[in-house]
Structure formats: C-alpha cells, structure tokens
C-alpha cells in the first residue's frame, strides 16, 4: 500500500438537536483514500457529507504541532477578501521559495493575478485561490466540500480537470463531496456512499472508465449500472 494513502478508521459523528436528543449521523465507519486519486463521497443534501469531511479534516479539534495538514476547502470559497491573491496563498507560511509559489500559481491558472483581490472575482477564481493555498502547504490530504457545484458547466469541467491533475501529478489524495451523481462520475476515481442513514458503513465503487468518457453523457448513463436502481435513487438526489 502506498504510504501516502490515508486510512480513515472508525469515525463517528452525532449532534444534539434543540430538544436535547442525540442524532447519529454516522457511526464507526472506516475507508481508504488513495494517493494520486480523487475519492468522492456521494449522498443527498443533509445526509452528513460535510460532517464526514470535517471529521476527516479534524476541524474543531486542537491540532497544534502537527506536521501534516489535512486541508479543508468549504462550500463557500474561503479566500480571505482582505488579502490579495499572493497573500491569500502564502497566508500561513512564514517563508516559501518564490519558484514554488510561481509554479503553483501557474498550475492553478492564477498567473498574473497575484496582486488582485478575490472579492472582485468569481466563485471559481476564489476556489482556485483556496486550492492553491492547499497545494502550497504540501498537505497529506485535500478535502473539497461541494465547492464547485454551483459553477457553470464549462468552469466546472476546467476545475474537474485541475483537481484530477493535481491528484495524479502531485500524488495528493483528494476527498471530494457532492450530491450529484453526474459530478461524482466525472471527477472521481472512486465513489463512496453511505449504506443507510444514519450510516454504519461506507460502500465504495471504483469508476473504471477512461478519461475521455468522463464527460460523455452516453457513457455516463452506463455508469449507473455500478449501482442498483434503488441505490441511484437513494444517492443521486434527482440530480442525474
């Protein structure tokens, strides 16, 4: 097994509602996120995808002193509007090799925008900033929470390509979440979904198609054969 793979073991999540009842979202679930690949958690809205990502990213837990970071990119792009692109990307770093910065900014398509401020730009632009900040931190895992679902199709395809390129060329495991089966199929190497709600198991389906058919709708419908009809109905949230 590649030592850059991430093994998630026995994580659980619950919360208390207003009446004080404990609601279990998932319990004791384990799965692997492989290096160099995009693994997607697919589930309808409100079924615990964000909670799973935050649990894996250790959001809300004290992590001082950790060398390896699991960088979480929330649904709303989290570039800081009071900083320009360069300051955003180098936000938490005391010193970075300028050539590494130049390479990454070129890689994510922000070359020439170093002094621009993110609030004047689109959702996709701000996602690129957050993504570049994640990459430059040399993380052990990047977690992306439906950040690009709201973009127009063409912008989405560009970012799918960028995310897949970063995963494979930099060997960074990427954990993506979406409620859209079509999006999951286009971006993922492996799709995970909960067995039930609340979940006590995660089921994984590898996507074994070549790169070109990822954006081919006729192939897309065949991919549904990976799932039973009930599973598709359950997990796709009518987004086919």
């Amino acid at each position: 097994m590649n030592n850059k793979n991430i093994k998630i073991e026995s994580i659980s999540k619950n919360y208390s509602d207003l009446s004080g009842h404990t609601i279990q979202i998932f319990e004791n679930i384990s799965f692997n996120i492989e290096a160099g690949k995009v693994t997607t958690i697919l589930a309808p809205v409100g079924k615990g995808k964000t909670s799973l990502l935050k649990s894996v990213a250790n959001i809300g837990k004290i992590k001082n002193g950790l060398n390896k970071k699991r960088i979480y990119i929330p649904k709303e792009p989290s570039s800081f509007p009071w900083l320009n692109v360069r300051e955003n990307i180098l936000f938490n770093l005391d010193k970075t090799d300028e050539s590494i910065f130049k390479n990454i900014i070129k890689y994510v398509g922000l070359d020439g925008y170093e002094d621009h401020y993110p609030n004047n730009y689109s959702f996709g632009f701000r996602f690129r900033i957050s993504f570049a900040r994640a990459i430059i931190n040399n993380p052990e895992l990047i977690l992306i929470d439906e950040s690009i679902s709201v973009l127009p199709l063409q912008r989405k395809f560009e970012l799918y390509e960028l995310i897949r390129k970063v995963a494979s060329e930099m060997e960074i495991p990427i954990f993506y979440s979406t409620s859209s089966l079509s999006e999951a199929i286009r971006i993922s190497d492996k799709i995970l979904y909960f067995n039930q709600f609340p979940a006590n198991k995660i089921i994984g389906k590898p996507i074994l198609i070549d790169e070109e058919s990822r954006i081919d709708d006729s192939e897309f419908f065949e991919i549904q054969n990976f799932f039973t009809t009930d599973e598709v109905l359950l997990i796709s949230n009518s987004s086919i």
Partner: protein, 253 residues
Amino acid sequence: MNSNKTKEVKTLSKSNITIFFILIYLVLFEFAWVNQSSIPKPSMLLETFASLITEYNLLNGLFETTAILFPAIFLAILIIEFFIRIFLNIILNFNGIINISSPFKYFSFFFFALLFNVIFPNSLLAEFVFITFLVLGNLITTLSDASNSISKEYIESAESLVLSNGKILSKVFWKSIKPNYYGKLVKIHTNAWLAVIVYEFIGAVNGVGAIYKLAFDYNDLFAIISLGIFIAILILAVNSILDFVISKLVFWE
C-alpha cells in the same frame, strides 16, 4: 460594491435633506416670516455665534471638550486593538462575563455622569475616565455584535491550516469583523459627544456642556440654538472624516 453605492446614495440624500432644511429655515425666517419672535432669524444666530466666542468663551470650552473627547475615544480604540485576542476570547468563550455586565445598560449614562460628578467634582481626569469607559463599553458591545457576523468558512479554513487559536483570532476573526466593527464608530462618536456634553452640563465648570449650562441659566435661547447648530455641524464634519478614513483603511470590499 453595491453596499458602497447604497451608502453613497444615503450620505448624499442625508446631506441634501440637511441643505433643504437649512434653505427652508433661511427663506422662511429671514425673509418671509420676519415679524415672528419665537424662532430666531438666521442673521441673529450669526451675531449670537460671535457673542458665543467673545462672551461665553466658546473656543476655550471647545478645546476643553475635544481635549477630553478625542483622546478618550482614541485610547478606547487602542485598548481594543492592543488586547484584541483577550477581548475576542472573552466574547467567544466566556460570554457570561458580558452578560453579567448587561444589567448596567439599564442605568442611563446620565446616572453614571451624575455619580462621577458628585464623587469627583471639577475633575478633568474623572471626565476623561468616564468618557473612556463609556466608549470602551460601546466598542465591546459592537465587537460582540460583529462577532456574530463572521463567516464560519474562514475559521474552518484557518483551522485546517493548523493555525494556533491566537493567530486565528487575530489574523482571521479580527480581520473579518473589522469592517462591521469600525462601521459603527461614527455612531459611537456621536454618542460620545452627547455623553461628554451631558457630563459637562452637570459639572457646569468645563467645556461645551458648561457653556450650555451658562446659556440655560441666562435663559439665552439664541445662544442655545446657535451652539446646538454649531456642535451638530462639528459632529457631522468629524463623522464625514471618520467615514472617509474608515472606508479607506478598513473596508476591503
């Protein structure tokens, strides 16, 4: 961008309304309705303003008031800026402390102004401390309100970058709420003027408030109105400068 435009339109309409009322007053009471005696004529107010300087020693009073007011506001702002991590930690983790102090807001500042004047009569230092605490209290309340406006995505992103709690507070939380916080400074400045005048009116020794008291004792209606208009223009001018400076330094939108 849109909010800036709306703000511009609001400021414009506010100044238009002010100019409109001044014109109405000028035309009505200077030229049209000359025989009435209850509302002073604009030309009379101008004459009275001159007597405010010569007879009531306005410039000296104004110096005394502003020498207390602006350093007090400045000091309160500095205290917040300097101890921002401590204040934010208290607001976020020990909100009970803020709640404990909340019954004090039901005492009017007038009550505390009376108290200070009785315990420390004629003390400029007491006046300075009173105004500093009042502004500080306003700033802490504003900080607490602004803290609710932060987008949690910023905090989660910073957390996943393994930043320390202190750095998250100062580099993300504070930066994020700054526009909201400083946006209220104009209102706090206006309230501080009200407080300082009331304080000085009660003490009747120093500043603009003492001039008001003198004019009140002499039953000098023209002086009261003339001074009121002058102070209102002064507050408006400082507010405009504050608005401009804050929009250039703090607002990043």
